[in-house]
């Protein structure tokens, strides 16, 4: 049994916790404090508003602790806002945690009117086409040498991995697929 934390400050954390509860051998943990963060074996940074979550991480001091744990090898998966938090470079903005060698464009597809969903096969993440939900989503413009591209949609990178860090610009927590969860749990 491994404990998998979900940063529970703002955003779609309850959706992630519900998905984790459906998996075997996983103890879902809502992470709100330093003590919570110290004890988890893995961590998911959920969807939400990256500026809001980043401010909360800074004001609570969780930001520094999280960076330290990433350095020590904690597997972390960021979905949408979580991907933005992980990125080393954000077009036109200062980075937040800045731990993953990717360059991200926020709201890359436009406003809510441009949010969309689709199904696409991402061979690195599973053999079945995955339901992909993009809500005011970012995309990854470039990845560093150590970063592996896991998926593209319409010419833009939507999933990447660097060591034990995983980033997806879409929201598996809003779908009935657990493929990306299973991928993350074996990182």
């Amino acid at each position: 049994m491994q404990s998998v934390g979900v940063l529970a400050l703002q955003g779609s954390f309850s959706e992630h916790l519900t998905k984790l509860a459906q998996l075997t051998e996983v103890l879902p943990v809502a992470v709100k404090t330093a003590a919570d963060l110290e004890q988890v074996d893995r961590l998911i940074l959920p969807g939400g508003e990256s500026t809001a979550i980043s401010r909360l991480l800074q004001r609570t001091g969780l930001s520094e602790l999280l960076k330290r744990r990433v350095k020590e090898g904690l597997p972390v998966w960021g979905t949408c806002a979580g991907l933005i938090l992980l990125a080393k470079n954000i077009v036109g903005e200062q980075p937040h945690l800045g731990v993953m060698d990717i360059t991200v464009r926020r709201n890359a597809y436009g406003s809510q009117l441009n949010s969309f969903s689709c199904r696409q096969l991402l061979p690195a993440l599973g053999t079945e086409p995955l339901p992909l939900v993009f809500i005011r989503a970012p995309w990854i413009e470039r990845v560093g040498e150590q970063t592996e591209i896991l998926g593209e949609y319409a010419g833009h990178i939507i999933a990447a991995r660097q060591g034990k860090l995983l980033a997806t610009s879409f929201h598996p927590e809003l779908t009935d697929s657990d493929a990306v969860y299973r991928y993350f749990l074996q990182l």
Partner: protein, 292 residues
């Protein structure tokens, strides 16, 4: 349900645990974003000013909405009058992220709310009880906020509406199936949505609290009562130190279950907006009574 309706409900899910702040210009919008707001509501006047000035309150000038949109990266919402189809079409044409069909503005139609299914943009609507919430969802609202009484700085109506809504959900969950139809009839709510709430134990869309939240403690209280986030209108930019109060309300909303943090952020915030006793407002001047 169409993909568009699901995506619009999904955006509200991304706002959960957050604070949506009323702003009247680009500078306030930047303060709100820096404080950690998950979205801003672009308005010409905050509700307390609308209440003071009287007259007809309408959709804001598109120029103001555009300025606020270009000032921030978080979602921007704006209000239309109840039933005003063309104001809603204008906001959709501006590419607004969320439309609030709001009782704070003077209703344009005294019988019918908007057919929100006819739009691509998502809508949030106010409600005082479960029946009103389910009627709005039936019309296509992708998010609900309890109404409270906007512009009063008095949380009592927000509490009453949230307790009413959550109490009715708890009651419905415990009703045997044969009583659902009568419940739907009494509440004036679509039967299919009543059945959905009975089975799921929650509204089919995200539910925030609004109307009278003025302090970090107010925000935390609404979260404790079951709200999934808060709208703060006049409470921030009609207080002594808006930036500090905005930050404090953001933290109190995330950490509503941690009294130590709520205590810490409540310290030395300067003057809160002055409040109004609801009993002193003539019935015809309450905003919450608008909507059908």
């Amino acid at each position: 349900m169409t993909d568009r309706q699901i995506l619009n409900r999904n955006l509200a899910q991304m706002l959960k645990g957050g604070v949506i702040m009323d702003v009247t210009n680009a500078q306030e919008a930047e303060i709100a974003e820096a404080a950690g707001a998950v979205a801003v509501m672009a308005l010409e006047r905050v509700p307390s000013d609308i209440r003071r000035d009287g007259g007809v309150a309408r959709m804001s000038d598109p120029k103001l909405i555009k300025e606020i949109k270009s000032a921030v990266s978080i979602p921007v919402m704006a209000k239309v009058r109840i039933g005003h189809i063309v104001e809603a079409e204008i906001l959709e044409a501006l590419g607004i992220d969320y439309i609030d069909e709001s009782e704070v503005l003077t209703p344009a139609d005294d019988l019918y709310h908007l057919d929100k299914h006819a739009f691509k943009s998502p809508f949030v609507c106010g409600a005082r009880n479960l029946g009103e919430a389910l009627r709005r969802i039936g019309e296509g609202a992708a998010m609900i906020r309890t109404k409270g009484e906007a512009g009063t700085g008095n949380v009592v109506e927000a509490v009453r509406h949230m307790r009413t809504m959550m109490g009715q959900i708890r009651l419905l969950q415990n009703l045997p199936r044969e009583e659902w139809m009568s419940f739907a009839k009494e509440q004036g709510a679509p039967y299919e949505l009543v059945a959905e709430v009975a089975a799921g134990g929650r509204l089919p869309v995200v539910n925030f609290a609004a109307g009278g939240i003025a302090t970090p403690a107010d925000a935390a209280l609404m979260m404790k009562l079951g709200s999934e986030g808060v709208f703060v209108g006049s409470g921030i930019f009609r207080s002594g130190d808006p930036a500090k109060r905005a930050k404090a309300i953001v933290l109190a909303t995330s950490y509503y279950n941690d009294p130590k943090i709520v205590a810490e952020v409540s310290e030395d915030l300067g003057e809160a907006m002055s409040g109004i006793d609801i009993k002193t407002i003539p019935a015809e001047q309450t905003f919450a009574e608008r909507g059908w």
